[in-house]
């Protein structure tokens, strides 16, 4: 009967082995060894993670980060301890739409990200070394998260209440950038999309929303898109910035 199981899904969930949990300030980097059937996906895609023995009933979406010698993800320390500390977790993905990187290059593309949205930028940095990143963080003890985002050239990170939108406006004023790739909560995405539109610059935005399933089944993850509420996990998480302004 195990054929039934294999047959059911191309995506999983498959098991991943937790190889270690490293503190990153108030956050934690969880290193995992993925099942051979699980792919990392393209930047902007996500995976639903859960630990059957953990505290949380639902899976949560996270962005996997390719590390030197492995794969990992970042969550807050409490979640890491209660849900992701292994030995095995379940991983479903990659899910959702990632960034369209066909026009991306380090010269004319600018990255803007805040919070867990930063994790998305690691993959882009690996492809386009020295691409410029404007990073925002909710609190200063999240600063060590930036250690995982290699490849990029960081501006001085903004810590709330400082906003990433200020340096973004300055940067776009230079006229150098033709495209902005952003990742963060919906509020940030909308602000970035608005500023880009005002400057005639293209934007792609990776949104965040609470998700129960990650694959279109629950209708729980809606974000304001095209003037209505659409599922972030299916329509996104990466969307064309213009859709946030409709």
């Amino acid at each position: 009967m195990s054929g039934v199981l294999e047959h059911a899904t191309r995506l999983g969930p498959y098991r991943a082995r937790v190889m270690g949990v490293e503190p990153l300030g108030g956050l934690a980097l969880v290193r995992v060894e993925l099942d051979s059937r699980t792919e990392v996906g393209v930047p902007g895609q996500f995976h639903m993670l859960s630990n059957p023995a953990g505290r949380d009933y639902l899976s949560r979406p996270v962005g996997l980060i390719e590390l030197d010698g492995g794969v990992g993800f970042v969550v807050d320390q409490a979640s890491a301890a209660a849900d992701m500390a292994g030995p095995e977790i379940a991983v479903l993905g990659p899910l959702g739409r990632g960034f369209d990187l066909s026009e991306t290059n380090a010269e004319t593309t600018l990255l803007v990200a805040a919070g867990f949205g930063l994790t998305v930028m690691a993959g882009i940095g690996r492809m386009h070394r020295h691409i410029r990143l404007i990073a925002g963080l909710r609190q200063s003890d999240h600063l060590p998260l930036l250690e995982c985002i290699t490849g990029v050239t960081n501006d001085a990170p903004r810590i709330a209440p400082d906003l990433v939108t200020e340096p973004l406006i300055e940067a776009l004023a230079s006229g150098r950038y033709t495209q902005v790739l952003a990742a963060g909560p919906t509020g940030l995405g909308t602000a970035v999309a608005r500023i880009c539109a005002d400057h005639g610059v293209a934007s792609q935005v990776a949104l965040e929303a609470p998700m129960a399933c990650g694959f279109g089944a629950c209708n729980g993850c809606v974000v304001p898109l095209d003037g209505t509420w659409l599922r972030c996990c299916i329509e996104g998480p990466v969307v064309d910035g213009a859709r946030l302004l409709a």
Partner: protein, 283 residues
């Protein structure tokens, strides 16, 4: 082990709960529309297109999920013209159409339209959704309304007619008997349990709109009670659901009196769960 629930034949006893599985997305992502499931229960169809409630629509609970989705959907016409035909090409087994609304006419019109459509194998009346401002749960919370609605739907279709009940009632047996008197073929027990989450600072509802419903392991004993009460009060077949996560949970509901069992929230963690449980039940 093929079974019959309310005159509907199923190749095996597992279904999905309405609104907890999207056959189109599953087909696109997993290559199969309803892996491990004997058929497919659609998201509740409303007469008009609905956007659903504003975000946030979900909140975590200990061993459960709170949702306030608010029945988003394309509406009856688009469902019949586009979605149902497409589902028929991808779904393996019968399609059970869940019908909702805000008045008796809402339901009856949809039921009548579905009665003409061979793609629809059975009809489920959702009289128990706690997440919309009016209708639905207010019908299923009242025995008279439930009987009236069931009887009207019964007149509009010869297809197997299921009525989906709420556990958020004083006496589910009374509602079950009303559905039976109205001519239902089977009962579906249970929808989410009325519940909510609040913002700790403002005391306001956590949700963007509407009420909330609790699903998942937390409500398993509540579903079990509903199934026992309906089995004792009526002769109807029962589809049991609420917090099912493993083969033993299926066995409990069947022992309590369910002929078929549906998976809901647990599918969110594991889209292959129905396959896993089917394998377990067979072993």
């Amino acid at each position: 082990m093929s079974i019959t629930v309310g005159r509907l034949a199923l190749a095996q006893p597992l279904l999905n709960g309405s609104g907890t599985w999207d056959a189109e997305q599953a087909h696109r992502l997993f290559g199969e529309a309803n892996p491990g499931l004997a058929g497919f229960v659609t998201k509740t169809i409303t007469p008009e297109p609905r956007v659903g409630n504003p975000a946030p629509r979900i909140a975590p609970a200990r061993q459960g999920l709170l949702n306030s989705i608010g029945l988003p959907g394309p509406g009856r016409e688009a469902f019949l013209a586009t979605l149902l035909p497409h589902l028929r090409t991808i779904v393996d087994g019968p399609i059970i159409c869940s019908v909702g609304g805000f008045s008796l006419a809402d339901y009856v019109d949809t039921v009548a339209a579905l009665d003409d459509d061979p793609a629809c194998a059975a009809i489920e009346l959702n009289v128990s959704c706690p997440n919309v401002e009016s209708g639905c749960a207010s019908i299923g919370g009242d025995a008279g309304e439930t009987e009236r609605l069931t009887a009207a739907a019964r007149r509009a279709t010869t297809k197997p007619l299921f009525v989906k009940l709420s556990a958020s009632v004083a006496d589910i047996a009374v509602i079950a008997m009303a559905a039976e008197a109205g001519g239902a073929d089977a009962l579906v027990c249970v929808n989410t349990v009325k519940a909510t989450a609040v913002d700790r600072r403002s005391g306001k509802s956590w949700f963007g709109g509407g009420g909330g419903g609790l699903s998942g392991a937390s409500i398993r004993p509540v579903a079990l009670h509903a199934v026992v009460a309906c089995r004792e009060a009526t002769q109807l077949d029962i589809v049991g659901l609420g917090g099912v996560e493993c083969a033993d949970d299926v066995r409990d509901l069947v022992a309590a009196g369910a002929s078929a069992v549906a998976l809901g929230t647990a599918l969110f963690r594991n889209p292959a769960l129905a396959c896993a449980i089917t394998a377990d039940l067979a072993s």
